[in-house]
Structure formats: C-alpha cells, structure tokens
Symmetry: C2
Subunit: 122 residues, 2 copies
C-alpha cells in the first residue's frame, strides 16, 4: 500500500482563505479530520447523531452552550456532545481542526445560508 | 447536562512522567482521545480492526512502516491504516495525542512487556 503524507494541521488551516468552510484532510475509520478558518459568530445548531470535537490551531474559539460558554485557546480541545445546541464564535485569525463522522452538515439541523458543502476536500 | 472542561492536549501530556502509557483525556462517539509521553523505540505491531491517528504535541516521532518511514514534527498528524505493521520511535521529550476506539491494546497483536493498561484515565 502507499504511504499518505503527514499533514500539519495548523499549516494547512493557515492556507485557507474562506470562512466557516471545513475541508477534509484525513480519515480515521468512519471519522473525518477537517480544518477550517473561522471568524465572528456562527449560527446556533446541533448534531443529533454525533459528538463533535474542536481543537484550536490558532486564535481563540468560544463555544456558547445552552447554559454555559466554553473558551478555547491554542491547543485546547473540547467535545460538544450529540444533541447539545452550540454556537461557535471566534476572533480574527482563528483556525481549528474538527473531528466528526463523514456526512455531517456544518449547520446541523438549523440549515440556512451558512451551510457549507459536506465533506469537501482541501 | 454539565459542561466538561476544555483539555489542553500539550499541557496534559507534558505532565506525564511515564513512557508509552497512553491516558484517556476525552471521548468522541466510540473513539477515545489519548495523550502519551514516548521516547526511544517501541515494538513492531499492528491493529487489525482500526486505523490509529497520531498527532505530535512536542518532539519528533518517526513511524516505521513495512516499506517506508514517516517523520512527524510538532503539529503533524498521521493515520496508520488498520492492519498495517508499524513501529513508533521518538526523541526525548516527545509527547503525542492518539485517537483510536475504546479497547485498543497499545502493542496490538504483538503483546509483550511493553503492553500498557487499556484505556487508562489520566
């Protein structure tokens, strides 16, 4: 079998110019590793069928939850449990890695014009 | 529901003193996020039922594969596909994050005295 190359998550994410448009950079079993550039406030949404892992690569990410707010700096990792409404927001220059199964829609059940193409490659 | 705290992967890994003894720091669906301090050469082994993701938090990790060798620095991420024999080795001061399903034995099918407790908490 061929050997796929290592991916530097922060470097790949730094090359992205569009916002809130996650790109797939790897796969482990049924889960996809994605990176995204984000800034400002996203929409409230939830994923009923899966947890979602966030890892901050640069900048600052805040995840608003129904009864709390979680603040994440570089290297911080947080898992939003399935079925929990959340609204990510981020300072300019923020990049993140995401881990979630293939097929997850970024806006969850909320939909709307912030919905990105599903499982888009880099 | 309660809000579990964010985890800084590099900071948690830096506090580990024992080698090749992965600790669980989070869970996403059926997968566990683990951190470990590693140094020197591990044993050749494979995991027949799952891919395994490595993310370098500090130091340098080399993954020997049957017909190649992959070198990873800080922030580099690599997935060893299921069924592929591999032998990690690392420079002193190396810490990593791992992603794999619950129940995976660190030495895979090889066993032996490098086998750590399965899914041990921090």
């Amino acid at each position: 079998m061929g050997v796929s190359a290592p991916v530097n998550l922060a470097a790949v994410a730094a090359d992205l110019s569009d916002l809130w448009n996650p790109r797939v950079v790897g796969r482990i079993n049924e889960m996809l590793v994605k990176v995204a550039r984000i800034e400002g406030e996203f929409v409230w949404h939830q994923h009923d069928d899966t947890d979602e892992l966030f890892l901050v690569l640069s900048g600052e990410l805040t995840i608003a939850l129904p009864e709390a707010e979680v603040s994440l700096g570089v290297g911080d990792c947080y898992v939003v449990p399935r079925g929990v409404r959340h609204r990510p927001s981020a300072t300019p220059g923020t990049t993140i890695a995401l881990l979630e199964p293939a097929g997850v829609v970024n806006t969850g059940e909320a939909g709307g014009d912030r919905t990105a193409a599903v499982d888009q490659a880099i």
